[in-house]
């Protein structure tokens, strides 16, 4: 009696159909023995292997379904019944499981809605894939700057020389507020002057008139809401309206309001370019990039080809007509579907934009959901011993492993389904708050089948992810061991659970560190010395140029109220000086330098109004007539000029003549509080700078005056000179505060997700701790009888978890450090990541963990040992 080669025998047993297996195996063994006797082991082995391999044919292979279940629906129903009873029996665990998952899913759904909203931005125009904005890269002092604005001459140029690329080319002003007057009624609406093709390009949904009707000399299209505001129920078509007191326009069409999630949202009036175009001609050359240029590509024209094709369109013209060639303008197209998410450029190439926030949020959402899934896995496997007997009995009365796996899957699906129902409720409740934080108006898309489909799919995926490990683990028990009572989950069974806890807390600690750093960075920027005083500075935007005609009288009257200490007008708000100019020359300037300064026109008392601090020289003075050709520059500009003593130096500003530097002020944070201060020049209004337009009247309120009272006295004075405009007030401190909105938003979201992540992690830890405590009840009882003190027991029960949390803290360091260092590099003015941040995060995490565990461990430690030991 000889044994054939085991590996082939096992292989044969594995593939052969069960009804023939024993007979054929008998034949094979019989033949093997015979060969062995006659021809020796080697030949017999060979023959055996050969025979087995030749048996591997379709008629001999077992079918893939070993078992033919006959009663699937009833079985599945039974799975859910059993699952439901299990949930009810262990209410505590069920609440932790479902609650954790529901919170995780709610976070994921909210983030999903947010991302959906962002991604669907600008997708509502029929031709959005073919619309693009013409951008330009210009080189200033070796730095490439990317502008979205263009000279008005570019439109005709693209239309005539590059018409093979484009269906439409539109030059338009940037959207701004315009006053529309009809029959003594004036409303202010946002809109643009644009060339007529804009209506076709945006495929405006016309209520009355046609898209072509913007072609006329003075045509105007109104949105439905603008028309209603101005005309009520009257028919607006062919009515003459007055625009900004300067132009007449005829309403030729009404279009449906544009949707909220597009770049043209709130654009309620489109005015014919013919109204302003001719008047602009003389003073706007190729060097004045004041307008936007939009194009619609021809069908079948590749965007990158067109983008490359128009690259030198501006360069070719400025070489002959202007001096802008030294900035090496290179044009390119920025497609509409990237406007929203990929809008930042660094040195002329894409540098992300909002897409970074989307990635970050998706990552956070995925992590929070993962934490909830881990809870589910841990609690299910931790309770495995309780269900081991069930598994054993099921297996011994004939359950296949695959059936047990599907049973446990159906239980996790049940939990995921319940959780998703709760999560929808949570989302509904949290939406108002979420909208406020994220600055959006999201709502659950109840009526969208897409939404429901993804919700169900999402619940199923969550159920599968969190159910896989428990299903495979629980169904692997051997019935003999389980039923004999010798089953004990060994050390190995705890290891995956510990790893999962470490993953959870690593994510949580990393989130804490990130949140702390984001909040610290915001705080740091808020505390940055800004170089001037924004407290009590109120400004009133000038909506009508007539105000400046009476400026001196207005100023006197304002001062006479006693509520105002000082008054000054300026080109832009002090917290938002974004006008830049080039074309400056000075003694000792490197001729290759392509300079750029922030320039702000002001009136004499501007410095006193905002309280700037003179570093050298003097402020503007009404008594010195020559100050009309004087500059006050900031420290950054003084450094930029590269001259030791700038006072008294002369600068030449293009065709605007010579200017003398009379003073240097301390650097002021007037742009981004995170960036270094740009070189700035302040100058007075004079006939040399005829084009300067004051947009703000700034007032320093008397510190003793009540703000509300002061405003009440100021308003009538403005009303007197601009009776049609409702007086608006801008508080400089609020405007400055708005610079932090974006960061604060991220900080808030990070904080909330961190809190939720910790909450979910602790929920899981709480479940595990209570499970471990209940398992060790007897041990604790005996220890107590033998004299263990309560602190000792507490330590015993808490130690394991605390060690895991410490490991997580250590692991989280490289992740958070790397990630946050990367985030901070986008700011010039930033904090360093210090060890204190980590100390705070670790301490906080440890405290929360200890609190969570101690509740359970102390309860167990305090129990009367008699109760514990008598229970059997």
């Amino acid at each position: 009696m000889h044994q054939p080669p085991g590996i082939f025998l096992r292989f044969f047993r594995w593939f052969c159909r069960p009804d023939l297996r024993t007979y054929i195996e008998g034949d094979l063994v019989e033949l093997y023995n015979e060969h062995r006797e006659k021809k020796g082991k080697r030949i017999a082995d060979w023959r055996f292997a050969f025979d087995v391999l030749l048996l591997l044919r379709p008629s001999m292979i077992k079918s893939f379904r070993g078992l033919q279940p006959v009663n699937n629906p009833a079985m599945i129903k039974s799975y859910f019944t059993i699952g439901w009873r299990n949930l009810l029996r262990n209410k505590g665990y069920s609440i932790i499981n479902i609650g954790g998952l529901a919170i995780g899913m709610a976070v994921a759904i909210l983030i999903g809605l947010w991302v959906y909203d962002e991604i669907s931005y600008d997708k509502n125009f029929n031709n959005y894939t073919r619309i693009a904005r013409v951008m330009q890269n210009q080189t200033f002092d070796g730095q490439v700057e990317t502008w979205g604005s263009q000279a008005m001459q570019l439109g005709p140029e693209l239309r005539s020389s590059y018409s093979n690329y484009f269906d439409h080319v539109v030059i338009a002003t940037f959207p701004g507020d315009h006053k529309l007057t009809f029959n003594n009624k004036t409303i202010t609406m946002n809109g643009s002057f644009a060339e007529p093709a804009i209506a076709d390009m945006l495929t405006l949904d016309m209520v009355e008139g046609t898209r072509k009707s913007l072609n006329g000399i003075n045509g105007a299209l109104l949105s439905r809401s603008a028309a209603h505001a101005l005309f009520g129920n009257d028919d607006p078509i062919n009515k003459m309206i007055r625009v900004d007191h300067d132009f007449d326009a005829t309403v030729t069409g009404i279009y449906e309001d544009l949707p909220g999630n597009c770049s043209f949202a709130g654009c309620n009036v489109m005015l014919s370019w013919q109204i302003i175009g001719p008047g602009l001609e003389q003073r706007t050359g190729w060097g004045n990039s004041w307008f936007q240029c939009l194009v619609q590509l021809r069908e079948n024209v590749n965007l990158s080809v067109a983008s490359e094709g128009i690259r030198d369109a501006k360069m070719k013209r400025v070489l002959v007509e202007d001096d802008d060639a030294r900035f090496k303008p290179a044009l390119f197209l920025h497609p509409m579907n990237r406007w929203r998410l990929y809008s930042e450029f660094e040195n002329g190439v894409y540098a992300g934009g909002k897409i970074q926030y989307i990635r970050m949020l998706v990552l956070i959402g995925a992590f929070v959901l993962l934490l909830a899934c881990i809870n589910f896995m841990n609690l299910s496997t931790a309770r495995s011993e309780q269900r081991a007997k069930e598994v054993g009995i099921r297996k011994s009365i004939g359950s296949q492993r695959i059936q047990l796996v599907s049973q446990f899957f159906s239980e996790s699906l049940l939990v995921a389904l319940l959780a998703s129902i709760f999560s929808l409720m949570i989302v509904q409740l949290a939406l108002p708050w979420f909208n406020e934080v994220s600055g959006k108006s999201l709502s659950i898309l109840w009526s969208s089948s897409w939404f429901w489909f993804s919700c169900v799919g999402f619940a199923a995926v969550t159920g599968l992810i969190s159910g896989t490990y428990p299903a495979l683990f629980l169904s692997s028990f051997q019935p003999v061991k389980v039923l004999k009572g010798t089953f004990k989950a060994g050390r190995n069974a705890f290891l995956p659970r510990k790893v999962l806890v470490v993953v959870q807390f690593t994510v949580s600690v990393t989130l804490i560190v990130c949140t702390v750093i984001i909040l610290k960075q915001i705080k740091f920027a808020q505390n940055r010395p800004i170089g001037y005083s924004i407290n009590g500075v109120v400004s009133v935007p000038i909506r009508d140029a007539v105000v400046m005609k009476h400026y001196d009288v207005l100023r006197d009257e304002l001062l006479k109220t006693g509520m105002v200490e000082e008054v000054a007008a300026s080109e832009s708000a002090i917290t938002a000086t974004f006008t830049t100019n080039s074309g400056f020359n000075w003694h000792g300037k490197d001729p290759n330098r392509t300079e750029e300064f922030v320039t702000t026109g002001v009136t004499h008392e501007f410095g006193k109004t905002i309280g700037w601090k003179m570093k050298a020289g003097r402020d503007f003075s009404r008594d010195i007539a020559s100050d009309s050709s004087a500059f006050i520059i900031n420290e950054a500009a003084a450094k930029y000029l590269g001259i030791n003593d700038v006072l008294g130096e002369t600068m030449i500003w293009g065709t605007n003549g010579e200017w003398k530097i009379i003073g240097v002020v301390e650097d002021m944070v007037t742009q981004s509080p995170y960036n270094s201060v740009e070189p700035m020049i302040f100058f007075l209004e004079s006939n040399r700078i005829a084009w300067i337009q004051f947009n703000r009247v700034n007032m320093k309120l008397n510190p003793d005056a009540n703000a509300a009272e002061a405003l009440a006295k100021i308003a009538p004075i403005f009303k007197k000179y601009d009776p049609e405009t409702a007086v608006e007030y801008m508080f400089a401190d609020q405007e400055f505060g708005m610079k932090f909105d974006e960061e604060r938003r991220i900080g808030n979201l990070a904080m909330v997700s961190t809190v939720l992540a910790i909450f979910i992690s602790c929920l899981g830890l709480f479940g595990l701790a209570s499970f471990v405590a209940s398992q060790r009840t007897k041990e604790i009882g005996i220890r107590k009888i033998l004299g263990a003190s309560i602190p000792q027991l507490w330590q015993l029960l808490s130690k394991d978890f605390v060690v895991l949390v410490i490991i997580s803290c250590v692991i989280s360091v490289p992740f958070s450090f790397y990630f946050m260092r990367d985030w901070l590099t986008q700011y010039d003015y930033r904090i360093d990541i210090s060890w204190q941040v980590y100390a705070v995060a670790w301490l906080g995490c440890m405290m929360v963990t200890l609190l969570t565990i101690s509740f359970q461990s102390l309860r167990t430690a305090l129990q009367n040992p008699v109760g514990a030991l008598r229970s059997e």
């Binding site: 009696m1 023939l20 024993t22 007979y23 054929i24 195996e25 008998g26 034949d27 094979l28 063994v29 019989e30 033949l31 023995n33 015979e34 050969f50 025979d51 030749l54 048996l55 591997l56 044919r57 008629s59 001999m60």
Partner: protein, 113 residues
């Protein structure tokens, strides 16, 4: 004549099962064929032929004794069914009819000078 489908090897197996009568199981059938036809037969080919014939209803099987040299595995004995018998007869008749239809000259060509 789809009714009695019987391949060449299947016919050999059927006939051998008939020869062995009451003692036809995997190994004995294999040996008998190898001996009478002086050719090799693999276990796989034989077993799948047997299974096919049983599925067609030409053979039936029953479990036999388990012996030591088979490591305790039972034998599976095969016998010819009535249907099997008819199919064998049918095949044989067809053959004979074909034989008869061959003209004498085709097999025994005679040469005349």
């Amino acid at each position: 004549m789809k009714k009695y489908q019987l391949g060449g090897f299947e016919e050999v197996v059927m006939l051998t099962v008939g020869i062995l009568y009451n003692d036809a199981y995997g190994v004995s059938v294999k040996k008998e064929i190898e001996q009478r036809l002086t050719r090799k037969v693999s276990v796989g080919a034989l077993q799948s032929a047997l299974k096919r014939l049983e599925d067609k209803g030409y053979l039936k099987s029953h479990e036999g004794e388990a012996t030591q040299e088979r490591a305790g595995r039972p034998k599976r004995y095969f016998v010819i069914t009535a249907l099997g018998k008819r199919s064998l007869e049918h095949t044989r008749n067809t053959r004979e009819n074909l034989w008869k239809a061959i003209p004498e000259i085709a097999l025994n060509p005679r040469f005349t000078d």
